[in-house]
Amino acid sequence: MPTYKLTYFNVRGRGELIRLLFAAGGIPYEDVRIEWDKWPELKSKTPMGQVPTLEVDGQLMICQSMAIARFVAREAGLLGKTSVDQARADMLLDGGMDLGKLFTEMVMEKDASKKAEKKKEFGEKSLPPFLALYEGFAGGNGYFVGDSLTWADIAFFNMMDFITAEYPSALDGYCNLNKVVDNVKTNPGVAKWLKERPVTDH
């Protein structure tokens, strides 16, 4: 089996989806977390001057968080069974990332009154239509694609983990989406990781 080394900051951020996928797939990997002050010297050694990066067999370094996540999802058998299933998972993830961008913009806003405005707007204008749409995409069995867990479910769970920290009751009333979250949380690898993972602010 190849050896994997994931390098990222000591936060969940853009690395957590990858860590969840390794966990769900039961794939061992080295979870390297670098401190901010070590970053400048490491930066030039990465392909695109960014983390996360994934080293495979001590050689090839892959960058771009979603490219890495897709690669790990494939290794974990969580990509989707057919080509069309895989595309469906991809598209749901892409849609989620569009929402994630807006959320991150809001969280990173430094001006307090602008942030309050953005938070209200996100909570009232962006989040509800997205959740209503995705409630329709999710099956009654709690899977976004077919009848088994894929990385689309795990990515949704991870994103809602961040969003419910700011909007605790966001998922109230969404039967299918709550089932998706449950299916992810009760996956044995994920359950173990959620219990053991370092606690970080974001």
Partner: protein, 205 residues
Amino acid sequence: MAPKYKFTYFDVRARGEPTRLLFAAAGVEYEDVRVRRDDWAALKPTMPMGQLPILEVDGVTLCQSMTIARFVARETGMDGKTKLERAQADAFVDELEDLVPKLAMAMIFTTDENEKAEKVKELDKAIAEKLGKCEKLSGPDGHLVGNSMLWCDLVLYNIAYDIEEVYKSGTLQDYPKLAKVYDTVRSDPRIAKWIAERPAGQFNI
């Protein structure tokens, strides 16, 4: 018999052109549906995520431009020869695709003069940063990854076309490996035929 694939997008290149280039490169027939700006409002609510492009195949409707491009790349064997090649191709696309909306905003859709100057500044910075990174990682022989034309080459070609032919000709001189990829793509016979014959589009983007 109707083609297996029906691709619907606006009448522009932008986020839809990589998929059209893939179909062309692979010689695969498809229905190329173009929506004019005025017709969009009525159509929007019928789309799965309220956006274009969509791809209809086997009774399923896919959305999200890069998902569709990756799917068609997979169908036509242009996504990468190995898992690692696929991941590297993905990484190039992830890095480059931000340039598409930036090009559109700076070149066409911003009318206010001051705002446009801002957008142009932002675009120039993004071009230098992203093409710089890709130049560093690109293969030396006219392919970004490995030794065959993959979908990431077509994504680069599409963006480089806008930069070279519409925005600032001569930019690619600073990026010799990327310039080789650009040349390799546009001299592929099927792609050259498509470029010569494709509709001009509602906007030159």
